[in-house]
Symmetry: C2
Subunit: 405 residues, 2 copies
């Protein structure tokens, strides 16, 4: 509990992430009715602040904050914006890209998936070729795939769409990016971003957050058949969100009141300083972690700097060191990092999260101390394998054969 002395390790996972003490206190807000005015005020502010988080000023764009995991956002996308049989181009950079594509297929989208070797991102020229072949209803991209730490730059995709297929919706999974990476919703003509509360937004898990453009709302409300979901139905949630933003209660399902308070606390903190500063802090801390990886003679999954996420780092393990052993060594030093997520090579790499409070809560020096723990853990392993404690060069370590995700 937050009021007790902490004994658990500091969480440097790519979500959930460490939470500001003020946010944690908001989690234990008193019980209150979702119909009562104080809650309406809190939820209304959360929605208005969510617009700012997305750098959106279009009053006809619409944020949705729903009880559920970030994954629920995929159902929201699949059941409201895409009709069964419509073609969707999915760019895959890892496990989450693939799962998003499967979710879309489940609801009847005719998906085409572009895959690349692990650690890479689809070439924009290939995307262009594909867009010229078929008139896609949507281009679906995971901004940062948490399984590989591969970042797919959005601006070039947006420019490409405007040039070759302006009617195609740009749909983004921002689960591991919103709050850590620059994401200019209006300016980049993004139609939908689906994210969760528990990563760079710095709130505990339990909220799905969706931002939809005016155009996306039109598409959803003009669709031929009703949405293929109840709980994720945009027409049912739209008036609820609009009313709450006007500080009026409205009912479709009971919102998770304490999580909404926590979201209020974290958004208030995020927006108290320029977002550009927050993104810069994430870039700086990310560079620091990536420098340690390099110093240890190790290699990131994402080779190209422009495809390296700023909220997490995924790197191949030195040969002979198991994921389990490294995780356990790091845990002994007071930090939690996590293993890979890939059905063939997931056990051969690990992931370190550097998002949200651990990045911006400078006084606690989570990243400095976490880097030190990681460095020591790997160096101890090197020492155990050799008389000298000098790290071996990267050439000594075999990287797994490249595998398609």
């Amino acid at each position: 509990m937050s009021s007790q002395v902490r004994t658990s390790p500091i969480l440097l996972a790519p979500g959930p992430t460490e939470v500001d003490p003020a946010v944690l206190r908001a989690m234990s807000s008193w019980a209150e009715s979702h119909f009562a005015q104080p809650f309406c005020n809190t939820f209304g502010d959360v929605l208005t602040m969510t617009r700012k988080l997305f750098q959106s000023q279009d009053p006809n764009a619409q944020p949705f904050v729903l009880g559920g995991s970030g994954t629920l956002g995929w159902d929201f996308v699949a059941t409201n914006f895409i009709e069964p049989g419509e073609p969707v181009l999915c760019l895959s950079t890892g496990y989450f890209s693939n799962a998003f594509e499967q979710c879309l297929s489940t609801y009847g989208a005719r998906t085409k998936k572009m895959t690349v070797p692990i650690g890479e991102a689809p070439d924009i020229r290939d995307v262009e070729k594909e867009l010229r072949k078929t008139r896609y209803k949507a281009l679906v991209v995971v901004h940062v795939d948490t399984s590989t730490a591969v970042l797919m730059p959005l601006k070039p995709l947006s420019d490409l769409l405007r040039r070759v297929s302006p009617e195609t919706l740009l749909i983004v999974d921002g689960v591991a990016s919103v709050g850590a990476e620059d994401l200019q919703f209006d300016k980049w003509n993004i139609d939908i971003v689906a994210t969760g509360s528990q990563k760079a937004i710095g709130c505990p898990p339990g909220l799905a957050i969706i931002m939809a453009s005016a155009r996306a709302i039109e598409v959803a409300t003009a669709r031929k058949a009703p949405p293929t979901s109840w709980y994720a139905s945009l027409p049912r949630w739209l008036p609820i969100m609009q009313n709450y933003e006007k500080k009026q209660s409205s009912y479709f399902a009971t919102p998770p009141t304490q999580l909404v308070h926590a979201m209020h606390a974290t958004l208030t903190s995020i927006l108290s300083r320029p977002l550009s500063e927050r993104f810069e802090q994430h870039r700086r801390k990310s560079a620091q972690v990536k420098a340690v990886v390099q110093e240890l003679g190790l290699t990131q999954l994402a080779r190209q700097p422009e495809h390296q996420a700023n909220g997490l780092t995924a790197f191949w393990l030195p040969q002979g060191l198991s994921s389990k052993e490294l995780l356990s060594r790091v845990t002994e030093k007071g930090f939690t990092i996590v293993g890979g997520m890939h059905k063939e090579v997931g056990h051969r790499y690990v992931r370190v999260g550097h998002m949200g409070y651990s990045v911006v809560g400078e006084p606690e020096r989570h990243i400095d101390r976490g880097c030190q723990a990681l460095r020591e853990a790997v160096l101890e392993y090197y020492a155990s394998k050799s008389d000298s404690s000098v790290p071996r060069q990267s050439a000594d370590f075999t990287e797994p054969a490249r595998a398609n995700l």
Copy 2:
């Protein structure tokens, strides 16, 4: 915040409900990875305790605890246990029964809805007639409809099904009943109960809890087409729940870790005493509230004692007293109660919740004090309308014309 002096009113709404301070503290548990062993242990215990909450000992029955509102449980029911076109008999006792039926229709169930005048419950002889006419895939019943406080006894329905239509699944919405009303999952041959965390279970909102019988799991896994949902897919969640109950991590979507801790705290408290005692406490406090309503010369929506819920009370307002005015008078006295939920007569009645911590947390005397606040508020209104403060007799107050829900 729980650590500060409380200024907000005590919540006697029919959900969310007041929360044990220990549960509120669990809401601000430190951030932790959903893959880490301590969380696996906590979640595993929650699942095992959930079985006990349902008085289930069948190891092949399966609890599911998902991030989302209770409403998500309906999607879980509709997309896993019913295939498009299958006939489902829905008993309606209020707003929630109707919404559940709409959810089932959204996913293609061929629903038949039995309605009754507000405050009543379908006659079991009519249900029998209907079951003899059509071979229904499922009988869907809301144990307690939160909009009307009407309770539908489950045991007679279960007996009826076994007698006339044993293959029909018995599907129960237990959102306003689980934790307040006796519900013997195995013994009464119930196939599915869907509920939420925030009512008589005494946890903040944000978890959908589903209990499925071995037979229901078989039906879901043997269905012809895959489930028509991603986030609510039983085949995707089943191994996750099974692994967590074995204290092993497993991933489909990030669980709301703090809410799982809160659920652990409340289930631990609930199961520390016999459930029969908990149900008796709810019956006693319910009788106390209902006696005040009667003493004030007012009438419950549910006329028949066997159809009166034990976790909440809904009663018609005295003529001339608006819902808004009564709610505001009661709020001034430090308690929150809520208005009605019915499109025609919702403004003519109010609802008082008496569930969970407010019932079992005796030292705080929420119900005694809440009853006193309600009594005073109504008596003040009577006094303002007359020279005498003696309450007028119930015959003086016009009950709204009966309306079908």
